[in-house]
Assembly symmetry: C2
Homo-oligomer: 397 residues x 2
């Protein structure tokens, strides 16, 4: 990913040599330390929200000295990313000055390309959705048509910023870039699509570079479930922060986004999270993937027959396998099918996980199951976070 534009480079400092050559482990230099700590502080500022956070709290949370925090925050204030926001009550001495993030200092566009729908949002540093567009879309209409639809929508959501708008989006000073999330296998590292399920004409298409060139800003591409998981990791469930959780998406298909120790796990081939074709019934009914007894077939079959309880139970068994394998903290459910009967799925999956936990003894207790917040916008918001998260020290994207 190339993020060398001047606008939102919080880490202006020196121009360091390329930190890593050839994929090996990277040596750390001082510029890296600086950007790491700056990102850490920015992240804490964001998490503090409107309430803000004092310099000393930042020092305690990061392990840095108060003086280092003062220097870092001074830079951030000079660059417009942070600002003072009142002061706390005194505890016998000088009251702490509260700092807060300036959300308008940075924005990112997030686009969710679904099979029949396009949803584009503009998100600020805080994660707040500033603008949104929705349109019908035919993923099979060809690259040119889809690209144009995405660009038009992106221009639309950015228009309100009034920061000067030229050919692409490159005139928008605070814009970090555009994140795109879509189904189907793809290569996240290079931003190249593989055979998007049902649309073979996309195979090998370099979506990231095409978009970046067309819009004149950095672009990132990821699977829809990964984007959703990232969005939820950043500002979603409170207890999911920094931990591990799975986002299970039940819509036209069944997939998962995995967050392990606070960052999205994609695997070397962006193949992780293939949850739907997990086999849970040996020699079971044939799935369109060629396997037998996949969760997807069993679960969606039950849905089609109207047996929501059975669908939830099957989903729960597969979720239980996942929880056991990865020792996950929370399971979040999303997607259109879940949205149609949220309580039933939460209850059904929860029961299976609860029974499993009870059998295994008390250690750790049962894994909570919840409906993922943000509803139909999860993926689009997460796509925007593909650009924003790195600013805040998330290793993703």
């Amino acid at each position: 990913m190339d993020r060398t534009r001047e606008t939102v480079k919080a880490t202006a400092g020196t121009a360091p040599r390329p930190a890593t050559r050839g994929g090996g482990p990277a040596g750390a230099n001082l510029g890296l330390v600086r950007s790491h700590n700056t990102a850490l502080v920015l992240g804490l500022l964001r998490d503090a929200g409107a309430e803000g956070i004092s310099r000393l709290e930042l020092a305690e949370r990061t392990g840095l000295t108060p003086q280092a925090v003062s220097k870092i925050t001074a830079r951030l204030r000079a660059e417009g990313f942070a600002a003072e926001a009142g002061r706390r009550a005194s505890t016998g001495g000088k009251p702490r000055t509260v700092l807060r993030l300036v959300p308008e200092a940075g924005h990112a566009v997030g686009a969710h390309l679904d099979r029949d729908e396009l949803r584009v949002v503009l998100v600020d540093l805080d994660g707040t959705v500033v603008a949104e567009r929705r349109a019908d879309l035919d993923l099979g209409a060809g690259a040119e048509a889809v690209l144009e639809a995405v660009c038009a929508a992106a221009r639309g959501v950015v228009a309100g910023l009034d920061e000067g708008l030229g050919e692409g989006l490159s005139g928008v000073r605070s814009l970090v870039g555009v994140g795109v999330a879509l189904p189907g296998p793809l290569d996240h590292a290079h931003g190249v699509l593989h055979r998007v399920t049902g649309f073979p004409e996309w195979d090998g298409f370099p979506l990231r570079d095409a978009l970046a060139e067309r819009l004149g800003v950095p672009a990132v591409v990821d699977k829809d479930t990964n984007a959703a998981a990232l969005g939820l990791a950043v500002g979603g469930a409170e207890d999911a922060a920094g931990g591990s959780f799975a986002y299970l998406h039940l819509g036209t298909g069944l997939g998962a986004g995995l967050v392990i120790d606070g960052s999205v796990h994609r695997g070397a081939r962006t193949g992780a999270g293939e949850f739907g074709h997990q086999v849970i019934q040996l020699d079971g009914p044939l799935c369109e993937c060629g396997n037998r007894g996949c969760v997807e077939v069993l679960c969606l079959g039950a849905v089609a027959r109207g047996e929501v309880a059975e669908a939830a139970r099957v989903l729960g068994v597969a979720a239980g396998n996942l929880v056991g394998l990865l020792d996950i903290d929370v399971v979040l459910l999303g997607g259109r099918t879940v949205a149609a009967a949220p309580e039933a799925y939460v209850r059904g999956v929860g029961e299976v996980l609860g029974a499993r936990a009870r059998r295994e003894g008390t250690s750790g207790g049962t894994v909570p199951v919840r409906v993922a917040p943000r509803g139909e916008r999860v993926v689009a918001e997460g796509a925007a976070q593909l650009l924003l998260a790195p600013l805040f020290g998330r290793g993703d994207a």
Copy 2:
């Protein structure tokens, strides 16, 4: 983990403040940069083995400048961890000086506590086993007896070092510590056992602290499968280095150790890798864990009936689920049952994975399946790596 003894503290430098307070993300200071880069260089030295590696190669691989590498290696040489080892052929100028690790500069003890057997090894910095002891063991014989057996064996393997041996092991200058691996649920972070399967009397026993006090050196405790995975990640399969793989252990039970992006994934409760109780047959035969249709029941049942091919197939299906979920690079098989018919299991599991890969298209190709090297010593060697790996920049342990 407490590793403040002077002997093998490669990072002698300044005494930095505690880097992190309260479990949050840690701010980086200069001492951290130094130890990070030092560990990186040490790791590359170890991977280079007897052939050694030149300063400039180190610079290229780490992304550091040659001068920085020179400084770091000068320190390492002064401390006895590295030494010059000849020189390369000239390519038109001054020939490169080859550096190599001095294996004898550090040792670690690794202990594998199995239900009926104790195996203790002494490993040097290179990962080479310097000494080994094996003894019968009854895990149910009570804490005192087991502790004494471990300590006696540890003293035994260390005796040959002739570095002065007092009450415990604290007199051995080059000894980093003792790593212990055993089955059953436990808390890796605190080194406390939970209900070791079949031996309820161990529940809550603080094994790590008990051993550390008794021996006078740092101790680390982990699950046997995690230790094996770490050992394989460090010096095992070549193509597993830095990547992701699963070690599947088929013995009296069925478990897995997961390595994701080069480091062992344990989960917050050290619960990850519960592979055996993955359900792959809805409403299948009852497992002793209370679930129905677990791989363990199906697989071990087939083994008991002498149907090795069926056992391998079932194992392959479960491995396929795991591979799909995590996008893993390699599957390594180990354990007594596998050792009895290695080719059959490799073939059987490989066929299932191959069929799965073929159905999903060409992207990435099929995941290789191999027998884990090192045989019955994997776990003990991995246990020693619990102490050594951190020296080389592995985030584990």
